[in-house]
Symmetry: C2
Subunit: 456 residues, 2 copies
């Protein structure tokens, strides 16, 4: 038995998989300010046209350019591990596999889309990208990608994370990027928030507004915005994870996988691992597919499927998605990448269609799982990833109760070496659980009550 | 052409290589307090007998137990990368390869010996290990290994690093280890230093004294000490790096390697990559083999080959090695792992025999090289590793001047994600070079002037 299943570079997938082509109902279009569907040209000030084409594509398979593969080869294909030591510790008959995205130089799955986004922008003649980052994984990944492709990169980082994690900024700067705290005085959106709330900790919604504004108001016309999750083309780029994992499970001799698990904040990590398996499910396979979120930010498990903006300043089109309302500010849990108010339209659609079954887990169970994982498998996972670990442990325990030799696959989306503050607090007994109350959710959803409704 | 050369688990080396078997002259024995060579039994309070046997072994090949391989499979064999993007940036005809040890869960090469040391101690009935750590790489690695094998682990961490890098402690604790600042009040050695210098930043020499004392004075008799470098058995365990690299270069179609480079603090990273190539050189191969050290701590390039203690409190036997004197306190450069006063006896012997050619490089050139590497190859390397990168860039530029298509291999001993403070200061222009003056070296060497001399 192999502990790791590797693929050689010539075994890397050469096409991305587009779930939009296989969904029973096509995804709903984004709406403009007038409530009517927007065309691709409306997105042109924000994204380059080659990425917009991917965003609206209904092609099932999209070729990955050779030059992009040659950049991804720095760390891809990533390893698939068998978690033998965790299995033993749990005494489960289940076989647990994990796909390890922590081996990228930026430490997470994020470069899988940062590299293609930077590449397509460069092809289109763009010189500079702007973006936002919460926990810092995405800002690091885009700085990394821009560095390798010779683009400028400017990152608006949510202030509370900017202050708590000064070394994320150093990472970005080492790769030549610029990182400033959001809200900043550099944009109208930032100045408006600061005027009203000078001591605000910031939020991803505000930072997105700032990054879009900085891109569309750049006088050179050679700056665009880049988003690390939520959008269709981001989901697309990440499917390389699941496509590799399928090949690796086959190499390991697994004819069937029973449970696929990944954490979901904006949805790209989950989509990347799971969508190729959702395709199998659409075509009849019996697989349980679980996106996991924090109980404190229950976008998928409690919030409605509705039209909403992706950002606080309402600069984005209205997207059909599960949403807690664009002004939602989650409690201060340590999984910064899982604190977004919305969920990717494609993931939301898969939930509505009953193809995937979301789960929410409390913070303390996640850290307990992460400690178990570190002391058996050895890897210290990101706080986001700990949600997938906790869910995989639940599934393995259930298999034990049922006496079934299930095959469980989960996504190890990143390592936690830049996010040890949460571990420190957990080990010191200073963390608590957070659960969003129905009243607070209703209050937050009030902001979208007059928005266009999704047709039944 | 492949960007990475991978080995499958069944291609992992099944024996370690012992350079002592091939050196033209046998290594000199350690001496006891009376100036006479000590026997293995003198080390028994400090190390388990199975490791002492490895320490004094003259066998060329030593089998790696299957159970150890099964732990190493979590990340080994590690990848060999071709630094195509760096080559392009330098415009060199040289081919640059690097062996990537940053993929271990602890982020460096250190687990290659931490795992076997913990395993042999456990076999011998030991329940707890003590050790010291400077920058934190070794303490993290031993905590990691003890966690996987169910041993207790106690780490004495040099105070200045303990204060500057609080998250190293969190890493160790996540793996169940204990980490305290050294000097501490827990040992006589620590109390003595604190009485004289209450505000001391600590040093590796003091921390080693504390860790040895804590092991040998433990009343249960089930505690031993573990050292992360310097000793013969540590060099031995690390040779898995170079043995893998040789197989990988062969797979890549390279019939010959011209230059092998690795940084050297205590010597184990260098020995691990280089000793299998030193063997080739002894048997006639034309290879330049370069251990690299900081100009501020020029153990190999300026210090004498002499008998000295490994620690400040003079608890260790006298070892024949290049040494700056056991009381040497180096300037505050950021490569914490390269600030040790001595050099492994086996590496020192290879220098004396003319088999390897040490090089020293200044701090600023190292960080400049690390930035170039991050922006081409993508990986942010450890400050220690930056010395190897700088030397590889020198060698590649020389190949360009000479118009020769050389094959250069260097060791990427670890990533720098836990050591970004140095990058921050470098990027802010706050770092300077440090070079040890002849007068300061003479002062430091005064402490060993009356020690037994090495026979000519």
């Amino acid at each position: 038995m192999a502990y790791k299943v590797l693929l050689n570079e010539d075994e890397i997938p050469r096409q991305w998989y587009n779930l939009a082509a296989d969904l029973p109902h096509p995804p709903l279009p984004p709406l403009g300010p007038d409530g009517n569907p927007i065309g691709p040209e409306a997105l042109a000030p924000v994204f380059p046209m080659n990425l917009i084409e991917q965003e609206v594509s209904s092609e099932r398979w999209i070729d990955i350019p050779q030059e992009i593969l040659e950049i991804l080869y720095r760390w891809r294909p990533s390893p698939l591990h068998r978690a033998v030591h965790l299995e033993k510790a749990l005494g489960t008959p289940a076989k647990i596999y994990y796909k390890n995205e922590s081996v990228s130089p930026a430490g997470s799955h994020k470069p899988n889309t940062a590299v293609p986004q930077a590449w397509y922008n460069k092809q289109f003649g763009i010189k500079k990208l702007t973006t936002e980052t919460g926990a810092g994984q995405w800002g690091s990944a885009l700085s990394f990608a821009c560095s390798l492709l010779g683009l400028e990169c400017k990152v608006f980082m949510v202030r509370i994370s900017f202050d708590q994690k000064p070394f994320r900024k150093v990472m970005m700067e080492t790769w030549g990027g610029t990182c400033i705290a959001s809200p900043s005085t550099e944009t109208q959106a930032g100045r408006d928030v600061l005027a009203q709330f000078p001591d605000t900790p910031g939020s991803l919604g505000i930072a997105i507004s700032e990054a879009i504004e900085a891109a569309v108001t750049d006088a050179t016309g050679q700056t665009r915005y880049s988003l690390g999750s939520v959008l269709n083309h981001v989901m697309l780029h990440q499917t390389i994870i699941g496509l590799e994992a399928k090949k690796q499970l086959e190499k390991a001799g697994e004819k069937k996988v029973d449970v696929v698990i990944a954490c979901a904040g904006g949805g790209s990590n989950f989509a990347g691992l799971a969508f190729p398996f959702v395709n199998d499910k659409i075509h009849g396979a019996d697989i349980e597919i679980i996106p996991v979120e924090p109980a404190s930010c229950p976008t998928m498990t409690k919030a409605p499927y509705a039209y909403d903006h992706g950002d606080l300043a309402r600069m984005t089109p209205l997207l059909a998605m599960h949403t807690l309302g664009h002004a939602f500010i989650p409690p201060p849990i340590h999984a910064g990448g899982l604190r977004y108010h919305g969920m990717a339209p494609l993931v939301s659609r898969a939930i509505v269609e009953g193809l995937v079954r979301p789960e929410s887990i409390q913070q303390l169970e996640c850290y307990e799982a992460a400690i178990t994982f570190a002391r058996t498998e050895g890897i210290i996972v990101a706080p986001e990833t700990s949600h997938a670990v906790a869910s995989a442990i639940r599934a393995a325990r259930q298999a034990k109760e049922e006496g079934k030799e299930k095959v469980i696959l989960f996504g190890l989306s990143g390592h936690g070496l830049m996010d040890l503050l949460g571990y420190q607090k957990y080990l010191a007994g200073q963390l608590t659980n957070h659960e969003l109350s129905t009243a607070d959710m209703a209050k937050s959803l009030n902001a979208i009550k007059d928005f266009p409704k999704i047709p039944a």
